[in-house]
Symmetry: C2
Subunit: 300 residues, 2 copies
Amino acid sequence: MSNSHTVENIAIVGLGLIGGSLARALRKNGFARRFIGYGHRKPSLERGVELGVIDCNTLVLDEIIAQADVIVIATPTLVASEMLKEILPRMIGQSHTPIITDVASVKGSLLDTAKAVFGSMPPRLVLGHPIAGSERSGVDASDENLFENHRVILTPVEGNEPDAVELIRVMWESTGAEVIDMQVAEHDAVLAATSHLPHVLAYALVDALAQSDASEDIFRFAAGGFRDFTRIASSDPVMWRDISIANKKALLQSIDMFSDRLEILRKKVEDDDSDGLLEIFSRAKEARDEFAAILAARSK
Amino acid sequence: MSNSHTVENIAIVGLGLIGGSLARALRKNGFARRFIGYGHRKPSLERGVELGVIDCNTLVLDEIIAQADVIVIATPTLVASEMLKEILPRMIGQSHTPIITDVASVKGSLLDTAKAVFGSMPPRLVLGHPIAGSERSGVDASDENLFENHRVILTPVEGNEPDAVELIRVMWESTGAEVIDMQVAEHDAVLAATSHLPHVLAYALVDALAQSDASEDIFRFAAGGFRDFTRIASSDPVMWRDISIANKKALLQSIDMFSDRLEILRKKVEDDDSDGLLEIFSRAKEARDEFAAILAARSK
């Protein structure tokens, strides 16, 4: 590893799978010299030091603000919002402040919070979202290669300091990720459609079946297709409650778009509209097959 | 293998993944001495002979009716219905006829067809449904172990000859499957909930996204959760059109049950009902985790 680091000190707020994996990746490629863990739970921070993911840890927010060149808020969506409320007021009127970024699944609600507590757009706050995850969680599951060949979306806005945006871009690129810029609203709409809506649908289906009279038989005879379809209903309920609330507007739009389509399909079943059903199923299969080909090409 | 077979001649109607795999399994365990393939497509029958899945083939229905002890209709649902219309009238008034069974995903519609063309319940028609499959299809993908540790549902009815039901039970058990009896209506309701509804939901979601303005971005940023959730939308559109139409009543009930639940969830998102969302998501996660444990125990 090189002795010249891009930054000296980086602070990770919330040392879970994403924060831990980012720290590991940035240590491996020499992006930062020293990694400071911050959080409310001492045991996971101490575990982070034990694993070599971070060099030191603190429960005192002002310490990381004073020391860090970059602060990565690697908490779930609503906690990230709370963190911004704590951090940003301390930045008002300061000449040199850390660059702050995050990894949350929803960007619009964070932007609103940031502007509200700062009074305007904080120039050195760069919102971002790595599209990566795992069914595992916690710092013990962290992996220095988690972001390799994955996409990271940045949503720079007017009022952002260009150098700050550039540094966060370089940081993510150094992990092997492909960095893409998007508008905040576009990010939230795309994520609602591809991630937040499917989670809500999977939760709704499993809950509906579990509450039905025949639930025992239902789960007894369900097979592999059902397992794949409902896998995401095993995701963390707190995280998904927070995302649903934070991305309310785009999620409601996605649910309505889906419900309209389902109603059309339902009507075709009711009307024995054989040709109509075949048309929709064929079109969907074609789109799904194309998507599978994209994913396969990406993982090469 | 033993030289004493349970039956002499077995005919497979429709030599695809399921028919081919059943023939392979029954040859391996010595259930039948000779395997006759019947269908409309000569090439797949000849391929079956080439692969050793069947011993001979014919395009003439009367030949298998004259020769077979058991006829397995291993075609998709609507074709199975057409086959019953061709086969059953030839059985009326005959003293010794083959035992007939099937593998279709919907049982009620086949039962109605059978009674209509036969005039009453054909005593030697035993409806069945192996809960097994694969993303692959065709006789080349057939596998003698496909049914091992899988469930096969039989739906015997009043008017069935007990010996015929017993023979079909023995046949499936010999493949390593667990055979379970169910009422026809119960079968169709359980399959609608666990299989037919999820397929319709996956098709509806992928089609809705593919038709949206942002479809390019949507598929570009979709990740692993979306891939799993939509995998079943890559299934054969003709097969699923047929199942949707054949199991119309139970499928509509399942869609309505799901839509009601989704509407409840939607309302909670709209109302920022944080506790209500967490309750549903947590309950669903618990049910999904239990289901995963059942599946894991089964595959041991």
